[in-house]
């Protein structure tokens, strides 16, 4: 609800009884009311101070209601115009609405009818203002997002170029000999970061265009998972991390796409390895009920702070902390997972405890013939 207090309403009517009664009814409602005996006076006052709403009689000497409507609408289309008329025919109503009025009230009307129409008009104005505000906010966020993405895409290249230019600038100095090997290695890492980022960005836009839906077929998730585990086992072993798959003897097929499920499971399993602790465990368990197959990826890693659980599925919301500063990532892995899951009609949930570990649980729909 909007706040009624202090809302300014003008009543323009040549009939003093009408002005008085409108004022009495609406003042009781908590509005600020000013009344005018003709259109010219009303318009003059609107130029000084804009009301939220005007009530205007259609038939007046001097400037008629229809002209008032057109002028006010031109001055500020956000001012709500309610027309009162003694000769309410469909035609006059339609004409006034065409000119920009919000609604009309045929005479005689009850106080309840007036209250209703005024409140409805103000409510609508409030909604319009609110939606404009939200739209502007969204546009601002989009602009910031574009700035941010272009920054992310440029940063690695900027560093590589600066390395090369500084090396070039150093000429044949011993400093150059000393630095070049290290800077080549750093540049390789930067370029890899950029390639990863572009790959993930393309992945994300591919899912966004909705191509996945047409590719959905029956997929057995088990071999995809065991393949991924095999691929990343080596990487896990380097940190003494054990990967285990717990699965029933047979797993039902799910609605999916092989490539998409591969990306989905890989992202979660790689995260579970990356954000684990040395000697940690990653457990992938598969369960099912009558309609779903559930796949959980649990780790014994650093965990996610509770206040960040809401945002980790949004783009570029990697958690920056002492424990994550040496872990690389694009900030797009979980957003990709979320998009894939949404396209497949499934769900993803996360539970986490700081310093103890996280569990990401996916539910996928069973494939039915």
């Amino acid at each position: 609800m909007y706040a009624k207090k202090e809302k300014l309403i003008y009543v323009i009517d040549d009939d003093p009884v009408m002005r008085m009664s409108c004022k009495q009814i609406l003042v009781k409602e908590g509005f600020r009311i000013e009344t005018f005996e003709d259109g010219l006076k009303g318009l003059k006052r609107i130029q000084e101070e804009k009301p939220e709403l005007i009530i205007v009689d259609l038939k007046m000497p001097k400037l008629g209601g229809m002209e008032v409507i057109a002028t006010v609408n031109e001055m500020d289309p956000n001012i709500v115009i309610v027309v009162i008329t003694g000769y309410a025919t469909i035609d006059t109503a339609v004409d006034s609405m065409k000119a920009g009025a919000y609604d009309f009230l045929p005479k005689p009307f009850t106080s309840e009818e007036l209250r209703l129409i005024v409140n409805r008009g103000l409510e609508r104005r409030h909604l319009i203002e609110e939606s404009n505000r939200l739209r502007q906010e969204k546009e601002k966020m989009q602009r910031q997002f574009i700035t941010f993405v272009s920054h992310q895409l440029q940063s690695p290249l900027v560093v590589v170029q600066q390395f090369l230019e500084v090396l070039n600038h150093l000429g044949d100095s011993p400093k150059k000999q000393e630095l070049q090997q290290e800077w080549i290695e750093r540049s390789i890492i930067k370029v890899k970061e950029l390639i990863d980022l572009i790959r993930d960005w393309l992945q994300l836009s591919k899912i966004e265009s909705g191509v996945l839906v047409d590719k959905i077929k029956a997929i057995d998730p088990f071999p995809i998972i065991t393949d991924i585990v095999q691929t990343y086992n080596e990487q896990a072993k380097q940190n003494n991390i054990t990967l285990t798959v717990e699965s029933p003897e047979s797993v039902s097929t799910v609605k999916g796409d092989e490539e998409a499920l591969n990306v989905l499971f890989s992202n979660l399993i790689v995260n579970a390895i990356k954000y684990n602790k040395p000697n940690g465990k990653v457990t992938i368990s598969i369960e099912e009920d009558s309609n779903h197959v559930y796949i959980s990826v649990s780790d014994t890693g650093i965990g996610i702070p509770e206040e960040k659980l809401e945002t980790i599925f949004e783009e570029f919301r990697r958690i920056k902390s002492e424990s994550t500063k040496n872990i690389t990532g694009t900030g797009l892995g979980l957003p990709i997972c979320k998009k894939i899951i949404a396209e497949l009609g499934g769900k993803i949930e996360v539970q986490s405890k700081l310093n103890e570990g996280s569990t990401f649980r996916i539910s996928l729909l069973k494939y039915e013939e």
Partner: protein, 133 residues
């Protein structure tokens, strides 16, 4: 004359390394900070002769905030004349970016701005010029 002190504030340690090497090869004394907060601390501790400042660090406008604090906040009064050279890979420089805004724009406008990666001869020249003032 003692060598001039330059503080670089940038959250990319590789970028820091490249600029540090460049400036050291021209005999400047360089210190670094990886965030706006650390930067402010170093400004107070070391009172550098010039600051090379990145814009987008932990937040998108961290550099602007630091600029505003150093140039306009009372407790930084004695540092307000340290020239600030802002560098960023954001293509739009702050003068264009804020040309339509009104009010407190001057609060965040640095002394100079350059796009990353910096053009080395121009960068060195600009630093020389800013230090002379």
């Amino acid at each position: 004359m003692a060598n001039e002190k330059i503080l670089i504030i940038d959250d990319d340690e590789d970028y820091l390394a490249s600029i540090r090497t460049l400036l050291e090869s021209h005999n400047y004394v360089v210190s670094e900070a990886a965030s706006g907060k650390e930067g402010l601390k170093k400004i107070r501790e070391e009172k550098p002769d010039l600051i090379v400042l990145d814009i987008m660090m932990e937040t998108v406008d961290e550099g602007y905030s630091l600029n505003q604090i150093v140039k306009f906040q009372k407790q930084y009064e004695e540092y307000k004349d340290i020239p600030i050279l802002m560098v960023s890979s954001i293509q739009e420089d702050p003068f264009t970016r804020f040309s339509h805004a009104s009010g407190q724009v001057e609060m965040i406008i640095p002394d100079q701005y350059m796009t990353k990666p910096v053009d080395i001869p121009k960068f060195l020249e600009l630093i020389k010029k800013l230090l002379k003032k």
